[in-house]
């Protein structure tokens, strides 16, 4: 309620003489009088909106910023259904059932057009535009001293991360997208501008730049009031997109492998130094099959060769409540949906067979047969605990059902839709690290010009993270040349005794009794070892050559086994295929044909034509 000059100015600028030509000159004077009068009273016309919050009543203090962040993550949760369907169904591991409608069929078989509701970009841009609006307001708040620098840093970084993450998601799905960084404040800004469109080769560096420019890559602290915050029973820390995980993935896309490895290592050390031997170490530390925090596929002690003694602890990472203390051993970002509130958990409808389940999506036969079906356990059985019993199960009618998302389903409350959306977890992250090391090792040369430290040696870390473990890969050999006993062995990532790999390639996995030492990575396990699988080892007869590509393909396959249906698949295939094509035109396209084609072959369908021209790799979408 003020009559500032600004208000009056606004008033005059908006006066419209609707029928001015019907009015005599004399009337103009009367009009002016009316206008003046209204200028005086105009301020009384403004209302404070109560149903909705007016811009002027928002972004006044840190509490408003918190409310915006909470609203934003509500919007983020609404993207889960589309993101999982587009990244998985539009790839090789997930398929439609006969219940699925034409729209889902089209996504699965690459025949979608831009009218398909699954490719509607509005929910994504809803998040992006909210981010743009928040970032602009945060800048204002900082300038107007409504924020301290520290508060600003945390809120700004988080929201920018959400925006980059969303852009990254849709950029990899749609290829060419409008890249907008300012909020829309008027209708004039809704004019289509071709110059705002960028393709993936421009988007990725732009996102890397945005992320590198963040004031902080750390998570929220007490300063913002968001760290450790719980809403209901849920700790919000699992919801905030992890900046380093996103940045590391972006680095891998951008060919910055050292930076990717470093960012992942930084993430391991987030909050200072390593303080626990459990978190993100994908540990294999279990004796009786009772330690639920170790997400292993294993066998009862001493019965390693008895298939009936199989203990699948791996599946626990999907079923446990996020409030469990060992949830954070594996989970980095994981959003829990409460059945009582919106946004409603979408996956029971899509994948479930009971209650509200419509059973529209299922694991592809390709995933069942060609991925999990051919894995060999270390005890010789052909089996992967992460497949049947891990990622999917057969129901009574003999249908494969994706169960990763159905662990919270309760047959006694069939209409309650509860569950989790998995975004980042250690299994995935450690494979990213393996990928980074594999590629970085390829750069060759020597660290600091010291010929004792060939960079190619880092591929041993790839092997350790993919297959076995740091402690089994990096033995410290006693001078006598005899392998030490486990009880006093010393394992550490190093070239040789006493010569550590430099950061970010050094892991202390030492375990010795005399002197007494327990390195934090002592119980680390490679991803395949955690699933009790035999190692994948390069040899010169392998079909995929050279070694770097062999391991890259092995990691891609391992990602399928480990993270199937979690919304990474299309991005993972695309990343490697693009990298290979850039390296040698056509090889990436061939990879795409091979990987994606397997699903089409299973269904007797024609494999889509992935020309070297990337533009027909992506989903069509209408951004206008």
């Amino acid at each position: 309620m003020n009559t500032t000059k600004e208000t009056k100015h606004r008033l005059f600028s908006h006066i419209r003489f609707l029928t001015v030509n019907t009015l005599a000159v004399k009337s103009i004077r009367i009009l002016s009088a009316i206008v003046l009068l209204s200028g005086l009273t105009y301020s009384c016309i403004d209302t404070d909106s109560m149903e909705v919050l007016d811009e002027s009543d928002h972004y006044r203090n840190i509490a408003d910023a918190q409310k915006s962040v909470i609203g934003l993550y509500g919007k983020v949760m609404e993207m889960s259904e589309q993101l999982v369907v587009l990244n998985e169904l539009h790839a090789d591991l997930m398929d439609v059932t006969t219940n699925a409608d034409d729209d889902l069929q089209a996504i699965s078989y690459f025949t979608s057009d831009e009218d398909n509701p699954w490719v509607d970009p509005v929910p994504f841009y809803s998040v992006i535009q909210n981010c743009n609006d928040m970032l602009a307001h945060f800048n204002d708040m900082l300038v107007n001293n409504k924020f301290t620098e520290d508060e600003y840093n945390e809120f700004y970084s988080d929201v920018m991360t959400v925006r980059c993450w969303t852009y990254f998601q849709i950029g990899t799905l749609f290829g060419r997208i409008p890249y907008l960084t300012d909020p829309i404040t008027s209708l004039e800004e809704l004019v289509a501008d071709e110059s705002t469109y960028i393709d993936l080769d421009q988007l990725i560096p732009a996102l890397v730049d945005s992320m590198e420019a963040l004031p902080t890559l750390d998570q929220y602290s007490e300063i913002s009031g968001m760290s450790g915050k719980t809403l209901g029973n849920y700790s919000l820390d699992y919801y905030f997109i992890n900046k380093r995980c996103l940045l590391a993935e972006l680095y891998l896309w951008n060919g910055q492998y050292y930076e990717a490895a470093k960012t992942i290592r930084d993430f391991h050390l987030e909050g200072g130094t390593e303080t626990t031997w459990k978190r993100y170490k994908t540990i294999s530390y279990v004796y009786q099959g009772t330690f639920e925090g170790a997400y292993m596929v294993t066998y009862t002690r001493y019965l390693w060769n008895d298939i009936n003694s199989l203990v699948n602890l791996w599946v626990n990472m999907f079923s446990l409540e996020m409030s469990e203390t060992w949830a954070n051993y594996e989970n980095i970002n994981c959003m829990t949906y409460d059945p009582s509130y919106t946004p409603t958990y979408p996956f029971i409808r899509l994948m479930g067979t009971e209650g509200t389940g419509e059973y529209l999506l299922k694991p592809s036969q390709n995933a069942i047969d060609n991925y999990w079906g051919v894995q060999i356990q270390s005890n010789g059985f052909t089996f992967d605990g992460r497949g049947e019993g891990g990622s999917y199960e057969m129901d009574e009618a003999g249908r494969p059902v994706i169960t990763k998302y159905l662990h919270s389903f309760d047959a006694n409350a069939p209409y309650e839709q509860a569950g989790k959306w998995f975004i980042y977890r250690a299994g995935w992250l450690n494979l990213m690290y393996a990928e980074a090391c594999n590629r970085y090792a390829e750069t060759g040369g020597y660290v600091d010009g010291d010929t004792l430290k060939p960079i190619s040696d880092y591929r041993r870390l790839t092997y350790a993270f993919l297959n076995t473990s740091i402690s089994s890969e990096f033995y410290y050999l006693k001078p006598d040349g005899v392998t030490a006993y486990p009880s006093d062995s010393i394992s550490v990532s190093s070239w040789q005794a006493g010569v550590d790999y430099p950061y970010p390639f050094y892991f202390d996995a030492r375990y010795s009794t005399t002197p007494y030492h327990r390195g934090y990575w002592r119980d680390h396990s490679g991803i395949r070892n955690r699933a009790s699988l035999t190692s994948v080892t390069y040899d010169s007869t392998a079909t995929v050559q050279p070694e770097v590509r062999f391991y890259e393909k092995a990691i891609l396959d391992e990602l399928a086994l480990e993270t199937a249906f979690e919304g990474h698949r299309w991005r993972d295939i695309l990343r490697i295929a693009r990298r290979w094509n850039k390296e040698q035109a056509g090889t990436g396209t061939a990879l795409l044909n091979e990987v994606i084609g397997a699903k089409f072959a299973e269904n007797g369908k024609t494999v889509p034509v992935f020309l070297n021209d990337e533009s027909n790799w992506y989903l069509p979408a209408n951004f206008q």
Binding site: L18, T47, L53, E55, V69, G74, T196, P339
Partner: protein
């Protein structure tokens, strides 16, 4: 510019006629004449004749009179007013000298002059250049529970359609066509100078809308005027026209008491001819055969199997244990409708003294509905006063309070708790009460049946759907007269409305829909809606009489309105018992609450001037300047109007048969500000995040959002002929609606699907005709009136592109070049008599990637595109819900103490989508069907128009097509009243009148639905979509009115 042209034209006309005749002669003139009674022809003595500006004279014993006109006034047109006690008064335009025979009629006679209420007080219709209609109802025998009934048909151009036959449901009113697509289309209602919000608020009860007019007792109404032209005085709120309602006031200090009592009954409507149990079982058997079940499977179904349960020697039962449950022949419509009774008591007292006058009324209404379990109770009170504080200062107060309780039933499209719908579709095999294995009936209500349909009796008896309405209006007005030229008026009012709704749907006998996260056993819902409106209006009046029939009246004022609204609702499910009906007993996890708050400020500065020249030329102008919190800036709404009283011209003075001839021209702009409270701003709405609310952007701000505008040009003619025994009024109008609110498609990168913009425009062109006259004027008096209205509506631009709306299965299309909301569907051409016909034609539909051909007994859809496939491309316009003509006939015949009043309303040429028939003839599921399906196609070669029955209707035979579009023309005897006024009365009683009224006694229509008169929603798109709405019952009332 069109406006400019009109103005120039008007100026030219005024200039042409403005030549003042030169003065001739200097002798004074005399006008002589006689005043007689029109009925008897006898001269009337003591009649008072007042020539404008002169002293009055009285008639002699023989009725003669003589008036002297000074020579300088000889050529001036002057107004002569004649007043005779018991005969009312009369006005004549006099030019020059002549001999006059003035016929006086009784007070009930409606002559050429009517008193019309304007926002500034009453005015004579003779000197208004605007099209305005006065409804001066004879309320002595009205039984209407809401005032809408008064307007229906009586005002040409005002299309008043009752929403439903549920008690007190009110009507939707459209004045001169449709004016908006998304904003309100309802006229602004002003009660005693205070705007009433007349939006149809969302209710929890399906198809119900709060009717703000129902808070007014019809008998409290003193006058109503409908402003068609000149509504620009209300600026951005006037585009839909304005209805002014004034309530009771005392005219003099003597104490008068008026009592009114009536009682009535409404009759059960004619039931729909449905299949009986035997026919239904045969039909169901046929239908199920097409569902893939084998004959043996079907025979096992509990409602087909005829094996009665039999007990063996150990008391164990074998056979079909559900036999008695499904061995009935129930007419469910009997449970849904019942005879209803009404009663109404009303008393008003008027009186006062020299300084203060008051009018007080109190009323009670109890109205039952013909749908079982429905009723309307209302208690209303009103107190109006006029206080003379000093000679110059007056105060007026208005206070009214009304409390209404409604028990309602859900109507409209299918839902499990919809009484009229369920009564139609529920299988006749089922029973209302439980049976045991021996066929003994129990007093307990039967549960949901095997078809998933609720028990009609459970809905009728046990569902609670209650609406409580409180409305309070308080107004204080003061006026101060500075001189006979200047006056200042000011008023301030407070208006409060609260709607409280309570719903309980028990588990027993009712089928419930499932929630996304639970199975529902019972539901309770609550809603409270509050409106709080502060309104102020201050205006100054300047009036000057220049003599010789020239006058100027001008007003300038300012209005301010602050509206605060609140809407809170809660849904709760699964309380542990049907006896726990309160919202608090439901399952905590399933509870949903929500609500909204809204604020609007509106300010309007307005001015008008009416100039009258020489009793011949009238010119008037209005300018309103509006500002509102809903939009930025100030908007101007000008109106210019002119009229020429041809009958006042000297060359008309000898044309005896023409008493009045007036031509009116009007060009004006008004607005509609129902554009949403916040569309012009950046705002944030709540976003749920694991049970907490954060804030996210609420929409794309449209800073340019502005009120819709209606530019109206109209030309009118008012005439009075044959000694005022015939009145004719014609209005032709053309509306250009610009800046019509639309939802425009937003680019996806904005993060929104749509935004609000002023992206549409349309036109309305129409004609209103009113004719009334006194046919007989002796012992028997017969007044007959007629209104005829027609309009054409056309969308001229639409930023959002062609709109298709799915309303209860009807697809209505809004497209440039068409009226809004026409029916858009498939054209049909009978049924394929032979399989060979279908094969020869080769039409098919696509199911996924499979072609499915039509076969014998399927509907033969017209393949408009000629490509063989019947798909959405083959749709065409199959009907237009807008009537070609609508209006009413009104007749009053009186003889001695008897009077017979009748009102016949009609609507011709509008199409209706008959949803009820669509459900009852679609032959695709368990729903009971009408007898028409007995004629369904069953064998190759069968000649019929009814297709075959197929489970689930895979070929879409029942899709939205011209099969369901019917001509909705009707003519209805709406009201018929016979009354008798007692002449011999005891001294204490001043008057007494006994009456019998019949409502809806006769309806002529070819429409096959329950009632061709209905209006599901105020949004024009719903016009003509009839989805199971309670018909308006035939009713009979007996009443008595006493004056004390």
């Amino acid at each position: 510019m069109k406006i400019k042209n009109y103005i120039v034209l008007l100026m030219a006309i005024v200039a042409c006629i403005h030549e003042v005749p030169a003065q001739t002669g200097t002798t004074d003139l005399t006008i002589k004449g006689i005043v007689i009674s029109a009925q008897t022809g006898k001269p009337l003595a003591g009649a008072r004749l007042e020539l404008e500006g002169d002293k009055p004279v009285m008639t002699e014993e023989n009725g003669t009179f003589s008036l002297t006109i000074r020579s300088n006034q000889a050529k001036v047109t002057r107004l002569l007013q004649v007043t005779v006690p018991g005969y009312g008064s009369k006005k004549l335009f006099i030019t020059g000298s002549k001999t006059l025979t003035i016929e006086m009629n009784d007070e009930s006679f409606k002559g050429m002059e009517q008193l019309i209420q304007t926002p500034f007080g009453p005015t004579s219709s003779l000197f208004s250049p605007y099209s305005m209609a006065a409804v001066n109802p004879d309320l002595s025998a009205t039984v209407k529970s809401t005032p809408d009934g008064l307007f229906q048909g009586t005002v040409a151009g005002l299309n008043t359609v009752f929403r439903s036959g549920q008690p007190g449901s009110g009507s939707n009113m459209y004045l001169q066509g449709f004016h908006s697509l998304l904003a309100s289309s309802q006229p602004l209602i002003i009660v005693d100078g205070v705007p009433y919000e007349n939006y149809g608020f969302e209710s929890l009860i399906s198809n119900y809308q709060t009717n703000p007019l129902s808070a007014i007792d019809v008998k409290d109404i003193e006058s109503v005027s409908v402003i068609k032209d000149g509504s620009g005085l209300y600026g951005g709120k006037g585009a839909n026209g304005v209805i002014l309602i004034n309530t009771i006031s005392a005219t003099d200090a003597s104490t008068k008491l008026e009592a009114h009592v009536h009682a009535g009954m409404s009759f059960v409507p004619k039931s729909v001819d449905l299949l009986n149990a035997r026919q239904y079982r045969t039909y169901l058997g046929d239908l199920l055969m097409t569902s893939g079940l084998t004959a043996a499977d079907i025979q096992e179904l509990p409602y087909i199997n005829q094996d009665k349960p039999v007990s063996d020697e150990y008391g164990r039962y074998t056979g079909n244990l559900d036999y008695y449950r499904y061995a009935n022949n129930t007419d469910w419509q009997k449970s849904a409708y019942e005879m209803a009774y009404d009663q109404n008591y009303y008393l008003n007292i008027k009186g006062g003294d020299q300084t203060a006058l008051y009018a007080l009324s109190i009323g009670y209404l109890n109205q039952e509905g013909i749908l079982s379990g429905t009723s309307y109770d209302r208690f209303n009170m009103r107190f109006n006063s006029d206080i003379n504080i000093s000679q110059k200062l007056n105060a007026h107060t208005n206070m009214s309070f009304s409390y209404g309780t409604r028990s309602l039933q859900n109507e409209g499209a299918a839902s499990s708790s919809n009484l009229p719908y369920t009564a139609l579709v529920k299988s006749p095999l089922t029973a209302a009460y439980k049976y045991d294995y021996q066929g003994n009936v129990s007093p307990n209500l039967e549960d949901e049946d095997a078809f998933g349909v609720s028990n009609v009796n459970a809905i009728a008896d046990n569902i609670v759907l209650r609406n409580l309405n409180y409305r309070f209006l308080g107004k204080l007005a003061m006026d101060y007269t500075f001189s006979n030229k200047f006056k200042l008026d000011g008023s301030f009012s407070l208006h409060f409305n609260k709607d409280r709704e309570r719903i309980f749907i028990p588990s027993a006998g009712i089928a419930h829909d499932t929630l996304s996260n639970a199975v529902v056993t019972n539901e309770s819902q609550h809603r409270v809606e509050r409106w709080f409106i502060l309104y102020g209006d201050v205006f100054a009046t300047y009036a000057n009489d220049f003599g010789k029939g020239s006058k100027l009246i001008a007003h300038a004022g300012l209005r301010f309105q602050n509206t605060q609204s609140e809407n809170d609702y809660a849904y709760s499910y699964n309380s542990s018992s049907d006896d726990f009906k309160s919202i608090g007993y439901g399952d905590l996890n399933l509870r949903k609450i929500g609500g909204s708050l809204g604020v609007q400020n509106w300010m309007s500065m307005y001015a008008n001037a009416d100039y009258q020249l020489m009793n011949k030329y009238l010119i008037s102008a209005i300018l309103a300047a509006d500002a509102s919190s809903r939009y930025n800036g100030l908007y101007l709404f000008p109106t210019v109007s002119g009229a020429w009283l041809i009958s006042s011209e000297s060359f008309m003075s000898d044309v005896e048969q023409v008493n009045l001839l007036k031509i009116r021209l009007n060009v004006g702009l008004s607005g509609n500000d129902d554009i949403g409270n916040y569309s012009n701003r950046v705002y944030y709405t709540a976003q749920s995040f694991i049970g907490n609310n954060g804030l996210v952007l609420g929409g794309i701000p449209n800073a340019d959002i502005r009120p819709e505008t209606l530019l109206k040009s109209s030309i009118g003619l008012d005439g009075s002929f044959m000694k005022e025994r015939l009145q004719v009024s014609i209005d032709a109008y053309h509306h250009i609606i610009n800046d019509m609110l639309t939802l425009s498609h937003a680019p996806a990168y904005s993060g929104f699907d749509y935004y609000y913009s002023n992206g549409g425009s349309m036109t309305n062109t129409g004609l209103d005709l009113t004719v009334s006259g006194r046919l007989l004027n002796r012992d028997v008096k017969w007044d007959l009136g007629m209104t005829v209205s027609t309009y054409r509506n056309e969308v001229t631009s639409l930023a959002c592109g062609t709109l298709e709306s799915d309303l209860n299965g009807a697809i209505v299309q809004t497209k440039i070049g068409q009226p809004i909301g026409v029916f858009y569907g498939y054209e049909t051409n009978g049924v394929y008599t032979y399989q060979a016909d279908a094969e020869a034609e080769g039409h098919y539909i696509m199911q996924g990637s499979i072609e499915k051909p039509f076969s014998g007994g399927d509907i033969r859809f017209v393949d408009q595109t000629g490509e063989g496939e019947i798909n959405e491309e083959d749709r065409v316009i199959i009907g237009n819900p807008n009537p070609d003509l609508f209006g009413a006939f009104m007749s009053t015949i009186s003889w001695k103490s008897f009077a017979l009043d009748a009102k016949i309303i009609y609507s011709l040429g509008g199409d209706i989508f008959n949803y009820t028939r669509y459900i009852l003839e679609s032959m695709s599921g368990y729903e009971n069907q009408s007898k028409a399906v007995l004629n369904r196609w069953q064998t190759d070669g069968q000649q019929t128009t009814m297709p075959k029955a197929t489970w689930g209707d895979p070929m879409g035979n029942a899709r939205f097509s011209d099969r369901w579009i019917e001509d909705g023309s009707y003519l209805r005897l709406k009201d018929l009243t016979i009354s008798y006024a007692f002449t011999k009365l005891p001294e204490a009683i001043k008057s007494a009148r006994l009456f019998i009224t019949g409502e809806n006694l006769l309806t002529f229509t070819n429409y096959m639905g329950a009632d061709p008169e209905f209006s599901q929603n105020e949004n024009p798109l719903y016009y003509g979509v009839d989805a199971v709405i309670c018909p308006q019952p035939k009713a009979l009332f007996f009443g008595l009115k006493l004056g004390l």
